[in-house]
Protein backbone atom coordinates (compact mmCIF):
# COMPACT_ATOMS: atom_id res chain seq x y z
CA UNK A 1 0.00 0.00 0.00
CA UNK A 2 1.25 3.47 -0.77
CA UNK A 3 1.99 6.07 1.91
CA UNK A 4 -0.61 8.42 0.42
CA UNK A 5 -3.30 5.79 0.74
CA UNK A 6 -2.40 5.11 4.36
CA UNK A 7 -2.43 8.82 5.19
CA UNK A 8 -5.73 9.41 3.38
CA UNK A 9 -7.34 6.44 5.15
CA UNK A 10 -6.10 7.64 8.51
CA UNK A 11 -7.41 11.16 7.99
CA UNK A 12 -10.71 9.81 6.68
CA UNK A 13 -11.19 7.56 9.73
CA UNK A 14 -10.32 10.37 12.15
CA UNK A 15 -12.77 12.77 10.50
CA UNK A 16 -15.47 10.10 10.18
CA UNK A 17 -15.33 9.18 13.88
CA UNK A 18 -15.66 12.86 14.78
CA UNK A 19 -18.54 13.43 12.41
CA UNK A 20 -20.41 10.45 13.85
CA UNK A 21 -20.02 11.89 17.37
CA UNK A 22 -21.22 15.31 16.26
CA UNK A 23 -24.16 13.85 14.33
CA UNK A 24 -25.22 11.81 17.34
CA UNK A 25 -25.12 14.85 19.63
CA UNK A 26 -26.96 16.94 17.04
CA UNK A 27 -29.67 14.31 16.80
CA UNK A 28 -30.11 14.27 20.61
CA UNK A 29 -30.21 18.06 20.59
CA UNK A 30 -32.92 18.19 17.91
CA UNK A 31 -34.97 15.59 19.79
CA UNK A 32 -34.72 17.61 22.99
CA UNK A 33 -35.68 20.86 21.23
CA UNK A 34 -38.63 19.15 19.50
CA UNK A 35 -39.86 17.90 22.88
CA UNK A 36 -39.56 21.38 24.37
CA UNK A 37 -41.39 22.96 21.44
CA UNK A 38 -44.28 20.50 21.84
CA UNK A 39 -44.43 21.22 25.59
CA UNK A 40 -44.45 24.96 24.92
CA UNK A 41 -47.22 24.57 22.33
CA UNK A 42 -49.39 22.63 24.81
CA UNK A 43 -48.80 25.19 27.58
CA UNK A 44 -49.68 28.09 25.28
CA UNK A 45 -52.69 26.25 23.83
CA UNK A 46 -54.23 25.64 27.26
CA UNK A 47 -53.47 29.19 28.44
CA UNK A 48 -54.91 30.61 25.21
CA UNK A 49 -58.07 28.49 25.60
CA UNK A 50 -58.57 29.81 29.13
CA UNK A 51 -58.21 33.38 27.90
CA UNK A 52 -60.56 32.75 24.97
CA UNK A 53 -63.18 31.27 27.31
CA UNK A 54 -62.82 34.21 29.67
CA UNK A 55 -62.98 36.87 26.98
CA UNK A 56 -66.07 35.19 25.49
CA UNK A 57 -68.17 36.30 28.48
CA UNK A 58 -70.64 34.50 30.74
CA UNK A 59 -71.88 31.24 29.22
CA UNK A 60 -69.12 30.97 26.64
CA UNK A 61 -67.64 27.50 26.39
CA UNK A 62 -65.04 25.72 24.34
CA UNK A 63 -63.42 22.31 24.08
CA UNK A 64 -59.70 21.72 24.41
CA UNK A 65 -58.22 18.43 23.25
CA UNK A 66 -55.01 17.21 24.84
CA UNK A 67 -52.25 15.60 22.77
CA UNK A 68 -51.63 11.89 23.47
CA UNK A 69 -47.98 12.53 24.37
CA UNK A 70 -45.09 14.95 24.10
CA UNK A 71 -42.73 13.37 21.62
CA UNK A 72 -43.71 9.95 22.97
CA UNK A 73 -43.47 10.95 26.63
CA UNK A 74 -46.23 11.09 29.22
CA UNK A 75 -47.13 14.46 30.71
CA UNK A 76 -49.60 16.31 32.92
CA UNK A 77 -50.93 19.84 32.64
CA UNK A 78 -51.46 21.44 36.03
CA UNK A 79 -53.54 24.60 36.29
CA UNK A 80 -53.72 26.81 39.35
CA UNK A 81 -54.04 30.52 40.14
CA UNK A 82 -50.45 31.26 39.07
CA UNK A 83 -50.63 29.72 35.61
CA UNK A 84 -50.43 26.60 33.45
CA UNK A 85 -47.63 24.13 34.13
CA UNK A 86 -46.74 21.32 31.72
CA UNK A 87 -45.01 18.64 33.80
CA UNK A 88 -43.02 16.06 31.80
CA UNK A 89 -41.54 14.37 34.86
CA UNK A 90 -38.01 15.68 34.62
CA UNK A 91 -38.73 18.94 32.84
CA UNK A 92 -41.33 21.66 33.18
CA UNK A 93 -42.79 24.43 31.09
CA UNK A 94 -44.93 27.31 32.34
CA UNK A 95 -47.39 29.79 30.85
CA UNK A 96 -49.66 32.43 32.32
CA UNK A 97 -53.28 33.38 31.64
CA UNK A 98 -55.47 36.38 32.40
CA UNK A 99 -58.53 34.90 34.04
CA UNK A 100 -59.47 35.67 37.65
CA UNK A 101 -60.28 32.13 38.83
CA UNK A 102 -60.17 28.67 37.31
CA UNK A 103 -61.81 25.72 39.02
CA UNK A 104 -63.16 22.21 38.43
CA UNK A 105 -66.66 20.66 38.26
CA UNK A 106 -67.21 21.05 42.05
CA UNK A 107 -66.38 24.76 41.83
CA UNK A 108 -64.02 24.42 44.81
CA UNK A 109 -60.89 22.93 43.20
CA UNK A 110 -57.82 25.15 43.27
CA UNK A 111 -55.53 22.80 41.37
CA UNK A 112 -56.76 21.15 38.19
CA UNK A 113 -54.85 18.43 36.34
CA UNK A 114 -55.39 17.72 32.64
CA UNK A 115 -54.37 14.32 31.26
CA UNK A 116 -53.12 13.29 27.79
CA UNK A 117 -55.62 12.19 25.11
CA UNK A 118 -58.61 13.64 27.05
CA UNK A 119 -61.04 16.34 26.03
CA UNK A 120 -61.97 19.12 28.42
CA UNK A 121 -64.80 21.62 28.32
CA UNK A 122 -63.96 25.10 29.59
CA UNK A 123 -67.04 27.11 30.58
CA UNK A 124 -67.23 30.75 31.59
CA UNK A 125 -69.63 31.17 34.54
CA UNK A 126 -70.65 33.85 37.01
CA UNK A 127 -71.59 33.35 40.64
CA UNK A 128 -74.35 35.08 42.65
CA UNK A 129 -71.99 37.92 43.59
CA UNK A 130 -71.24 38.60 39.96
CA UNK A 131 -67.69 37.20 40.06
CA UNK A 132 -66.56 35.57 36.83
CA UNK A 133 -64.78 32.21 36.86
CA UNK A 134 -63.90 29.36 34.52
CA UNK A 135 -64.90 25.73 35.04
CA UNK A 136 -62.87 22.93 33.49
CA UNK A 137 -64.40 19.47 33.26
CA UNK A 138 -63.63 16.34 31.30
CA UNK A 139 -65.96 15.64 28.41
CA UNK A 140 -66.41 12.93 25.80
Amino acid sequence: MSGEFLLASMVFLIILSGIIGIAEERSKSVYSIQESVEARIIAEKVAQSLEDAYSGGNGHELIVEMSPSINGRDYRVKINSSGVLVDMGSRNCFSTYLAPRVTGPKHTEKNIVLYPSKRYRITHQRDEDGNHFLVIQETI
Binding site: L7, R26, F94
Partner: protein
Protein backbone atom coordinates in the same frame (compact mmCIF):
# COMPACT_ATOMS: atom_id res chain seq x y z
CA UNK B 1 29.32 -5.85 -12.11
CA UNK B 2 25.97 -7.34 -11.03
CA UNK B 3 23.41 -4.71 -10.03
CA UNK B 4 20.46 -7.11 -9.59
CA UNK B 5 18.74 -7.35 -6.18
CA UNK B 6 20.18 -4.07 -4.91
CA UNK B 7 18.35 -0.89 -3.97
CA UNK B 8 19.79 2.55 -3.84
CA UNK B 9 20.59 4.30 -0.58
CA UNK B 10 18.27 7.14 -1.65
CA UNK B 11 15.34 4.76 -1.93
CA UNK B 12 16.04 3.35 1.53
CA UNK B 13 16.16 6.86 3.02
CA UNK B 14 12.88 7.80 1.39
CA UNK B 15 11.21 4.62 2.62
CA UNK B 16 12.45 5.29 6.15
CA UNK B 17 11.34 8.94 6.09
CA UNK B 18 7.80 8.33 4.80
CA UNK B 19 6.50 6.46 7.91
CA UNK B 20 8.00 9.10 10.17
CA UNK B 21 6.35 11.88 8.21
CA UNK B 22 3.07 9.95 8.20
CA UNK B 23 3.16 9.60 11.96
CA UNK B 24 3.97 13.28 12.42
CA UNK B 25 1.21 14.40 10.05
CA UNK B 26 -1.27 12.02 11.67
CA UNK B 27 -0.46 13.51 15.08
CA UNK B 28 -0.98 17.07 13.83
CA UNK B 29 -4.15 16.07 11.99
CA UNK B 30 -5.55 14.39 15.12
CA UNK B 31 -4.83 17.42 17.28
CA UNK B 32 -6.33 20.00 14.95
CA UNK B 33 -9.26 17.72 14.09
CA UNK B 34 -10.00 17.21 17.79
CA UNK B 35 -10.17 20.92 18.48
CA UNK B 36 -12.27 21.56 15.37
CA UNK B 37 -14.69 18.86 16.46
CA UNK B 38 -14.83 20.24 19.99
CA UNK B 39 -15.72 23.69 18.68
CA UNK B 40 -18.38 22.21 16.39
CA UNK B 41 -19.79 20.39 19.43
CA UNK B 42 -19.64 23.64 21.44
CA UNK B 43 -21.63 25.50 18.75
CA UNK B 44 -24.15 22.68 18.71
CA UNK B 45 -24.47 22.83 22.50
CA UNK B 46 -24.79 26.61 22.53
CA UNK B 47 -27.58 26.45 19.95
CA UNK B 48 -29.39 23.84 22.01
CA UNK B 49 -28.97 25.89 25.18
CA UNK B 50 -30.23 29.04 23.49
CA UNK B 51 -33.25 27.20 22.03
CA UNK B 52 -34.21 25.63 25.35
CA UNK B 53 -33.68 28.96 27.14
CA UNK B 54 -35.91 30.66 24.57
CA UNK B 55 -38.64 28.04 25.00
CA UNK B 56 -38.33 28.28 28.81
CA UNK B 57 -38.42 24.53 29.37
CA UNK B 58 -36.30 23.65 32.38
CA UNK B 59 -35.40 20.67 34.59
CA UNK B 60 -37.16 20.44 37.96
CA UNK B 61 -34.41 22.01 40.06
CA UNK B 62 -33.86 24.97 37.72
CA UNK B 63 -37.61 25.50 37.37
CA UNK B 64 -38.04 25.56 41.12
CA UNK B 65 -35.16 28.07 41.54
CA UNK B 66 -36.45 30.36 38.79
CA UNK B 67 -39.98 30.23 40.25
CA UNK B 68 -38.61 31.86 43.38
CA UNK B 69 -35.91 34.22 42.15
CA UNK B 70 -36.12 34.73 38.39
CA UNK B 71 -39.77 34.52 37.42
CA UNK B 72 -39.13 36.33 34.14
CA UNK B 73 -37.23 33.24 32.95
CA UNK B 74 -40.35 31.07 33.16
CA UNK B 75 -41.70 32.84 30.10
CA UNK B 76 -40.27 32.50 26.56
CA UNK B 77 -37.45 34.78 25.47
CA UNK B 78 -35.30 35.43 22.37
CA UNK B 79 -31.79 34.19 23.07
CA UNK B 80 -29.46 34.33 20.08
CA UNK B 81 -25.90 33.02 19.92
CA UNK B 82 -23.71 35.61 18.20
CA UNK B 83 -20.46 33.71 18.30
CA UNK B 84 -18.17 31.33 20.12
CA UNK B 85 -14.44 31.59 20.58
CA UNK B 86 -11.82 29.64 22.47
CA UNK B 87 -8.53 30.36 24.15
CA UNK B 88 -5.73 27.86 24.60
CA UNK B 89 -4.56 28.29 28.21
CA UNK B 90 -1.70 25.83 28.08
CA UNK B 91 -0.88 22.41 29.44
CA UNK B 92 -2.19 21.49 32.87
CA UNK B 93 -0.11 18.85 34.68
CA UNK B 94 -3.02 17.98 37.00
CA UNK B 95 -5.23 16.75 34.18
CA UNK B 96 -2.28 16.03 31.87
CA UNK B 97 -4.18 17.77 29.11
CA UNK B 98 -4.23 21.20 27.51
CA UNK B 99 -6.83 23.60 28.88
CA UNK B 100 -9.22 25.27 26.45
CA UNK B 101 -11.52 28.01 27.70
CA UNK B 102 -14.63 28.62 25.60
CA UNK B 103 -16.60 31.84 25.62
CA UNK B 104 -19.99 32.33 24.00
CA UNK B 105 -21.41 35.69 22.91
CA UNK B 106 -25.18 36.00 23.11
CA UNK B 107 -27.92 38.55 22.87
CA UNK B 108 -31.49 38.83 24.16
CA UNK B 109 -33.22 42.21 24.21
CA UNK B 110 -36.01 40.82 26.42
CA UNK B 111 -33.68 40.05 29.35
CA UNK B 112 -33.03 43.12 31.45
CA UNK B 113 -31.49 42.07 34.74
CA UNK B 114 -27.97 40.78 35.30
CA UNK B 115 -29.35 37.89 37.36
CA UNK B 116 -31.56 36.67 34.51
CA UNK B 117 -28.69 36.92 32.04
CA UNK B 118 -26.38 35.01 34.37
CA UNK B 119 -28.91 32.18 34.72
CA UNK B 120 -29.41 31.96 30.96
CA UNK B 121 -25.64 32.10 30.40
CA UNK B 122 -25.03 29.28 32.84
CA UNK B 123 -27.53 27.10 31.02
CA UNK B 124 -25.88 27.86 27.66
CA UNK B 125 -22.47 26.98 29.13
CA UNK B 126 -23.87 23.77 30.60
CA UNK B 127 -25.12 22.64 27.20
CA UNK B 128 -21.79 23.58 25.56
CA UNK B 129 -19.86 21.37 27.99
CA UNK B 130 -22.47 18.61 27.81
CA UNK B 131 -22.28 18.55 24.02
CA UNK B 132 -18.47 18.29 24.07
CA UNK B 133 -18.54 15.48 26.62
CA UNK B 134 -21.21 13.67 24.58
CA UNK B 135 -19.33 14.06 21.31
CA UNK B 136 -16.13 12.58 22.71
CA UNK B 137 -18.05 10.12 24.92
CA UNK B 138 -16.27 11.30 28.06
CA UNK B 139 -19.41 11.83 30.15
CA UNK B 140 -18.15 9.33 32.74
CA UNK B 141 -15.00 11.41 33.35
CA UNK B 142 -16.91 14.59 34.28
CA UNK B 143 -19.15 15.60 37.15
CA UNK B 144 -22.91 16.16 36.87
CA UNK B 145 -22.48 19.59 35.26
CA UNK B 146 -19.71 18.42 32.90
CA UNK B 147 -17.25 20.94 34.32
CA UNK B 148 -14.67 20.46 33.02
CA UNK B 149 -15.51 18.50 29.87
CA UNK B 150 -12.83 16.30 28.36
CA UNK B 151 -11.62 15.16 24.99
CA UNK B 152 -8.54 13.01 24.43
CA UNK B 153 -5.91 15.75 24.46
CA UNK B 154 -7.81 18.73 25.89
CA UNK B 155 -10.10 19.67 28.71
CA UNK B 156 -12.66 22.45 28.38
CA UNK B 157 -14.06 25.06 30.71
CA UNK B 158 -16.48 27.87 29.89
CA UNK B 159 -16.12 31.55 30.70
CA UNK B 160 -19.19 33.63 31.56
CA UNK B 161 -21.33 34.27 28.51
CA UNK B 162 -20.82 37.80 27.20
CA UNK B 163 -24.18 39.52 26.56
CA UNK B 164 -24.16 42.03 23.74
Amino acid sequence: MDYQGQISIEFMMIMATIPMMLLLMATFTCESSELTLAMAAARNGATQGASLDSLAVYPDQAFSNYSQKNQRLLLPSRVQILGIEYQNQGYNPVYQKTKIQIRAYASDPTLKTRGDKNCMGERINYYIRKSIAGTFQTDHMSNSVFNPAFSHRYYYTTADVKWC
